[in-house]
């Protein structure tokens, strides 16, 4: 089962790099540890919720920043949501930008808020891409008859 072993190594290496680069933190590992035979898709389900919710929040953030008179409280509330969910799935870099963003909301700095939104989107799509690749690798291993290596 050379192919499975190769794929498993690829997965472990890939996951390790995500942690080393600070893209994911320990909270993601916590999620994986909650997954079991009775909830075999838990991680994918939670992460999918995160994707859906984040994209909804980006729309809200864009709309709010587009207003003549920006409602900074509303802006902050949305960023707070995103900070919470990114923290819950271990998307460390997204969470960090949220913290920065909230500071700018408090300071009512439109310029910096707009920049933060762009940065947030970049980090979000970056981690989304990484996670989708991770899930694809896991699927390949399972389809080849292997099991996902536990860390």
């Amino acid at each position: 089962m050379d192919n499975v072993i190769q794929l498993q190594k690829k997965l472990v290496d890939y996951k390790t790099s995500l942690f080393n680069e600070g893209i994911l933190d320990d909270q993601f590992t916590q999620l994986q540890q909650l997954q079991d035979e009775s909830n075999p898709d838990f991680v994918v389900e939670v992460v999918s919720l995160f994707f859906k919710d984040s994209e909804r929040l980006f729309d809200e953030l864009t709309k709010t920043l587009d207003q003549q008179n920006i409602d900074f409280n509303r802006l902050d509330a949305h960023v707070h949501q995103l900070k919470g969910s990114s923290s819950s799935i271990g998307a460390q870099r997204v969470q960090r930008v949220c913290i920065l963003f909230r500071n700018y909301c408090e300071g009512r700095n439109i310029e910096e808020c707009l920049k933060c939104l762009q940065q947030l989107k970049r980090e979000y799509y970056f981690v989304k891409n990484k996670l989708e690749t991770l899930f694809k690798l896991e699927k390949q291993i399972m389809e080849a008859g292997g099991t996902i290596p536990v860390q």
Partner: protein, 143 residues
């Protein structure tokens, strides 16, 4: 298929988890299930109060769930009614004041924590919750 030969499902603690964040709701639900609890989730304080039978019109309802809930765990920051306000309402009612309420928050603010504890919160926990946090809470509920 679920086997429950040792304990009947009615002896599992029933926890009401309240959080406006979709991801966190799913997470807390899983954490509680892994600690052998039956879980009901609510997306805001009002829904939680409705479930507990504490919304005005329901006061005389015989079908309220409050006697079935062993614990409420709620997020602090929620739009409309905060976790603190929910805590107060639960503690103000004679039917639910004995139900332990745990408040969680992603922010470590001492005045916020003290406020909740003074109002009768069993515990204040920082998010994201870990399995060990939840186990600590629920082991006391299993009779």
């Amino acid at each position: 298929m679920e086997f429950s030969c040792v304990t009947s499902s009615s002896s599992k603690p029933h926890v009401l988890a309240v959080d406006d964040n979709l991801v966190d709701r799913k997470l807390v639900e899983m954490l509680l299930k892994k600690s052998s609890c039956k879980v009901t989730t609510a997306e805001n304080g009002l829904r939680a109060l409705e479930y507990l039978g504490l919304v005005d019109e329901q006061e005389n309802s015989l079908e309220s769930n409050e006697s079935k809930v062993s614990m409420v765990i709620t997020d602090y920051c929620m739009p409309g009614m905060t976790g603190y306000e929910l805590l107060k309402k639960i503690k103000e009612s004679s039917t639910t004041k004995g139900v332990p309420v745990v408040v969680m928050s992603s922010e470590n603010i001492p005045t916020r924590i003290n406020k909740c504890l003074e109002e009768g919160a069993q515990m204040f926990m920082l998010k994201p919750l870990k399995p060990s946090d939840v186990q600590k809470l629920t082991c006391n509920l299993v009779n």
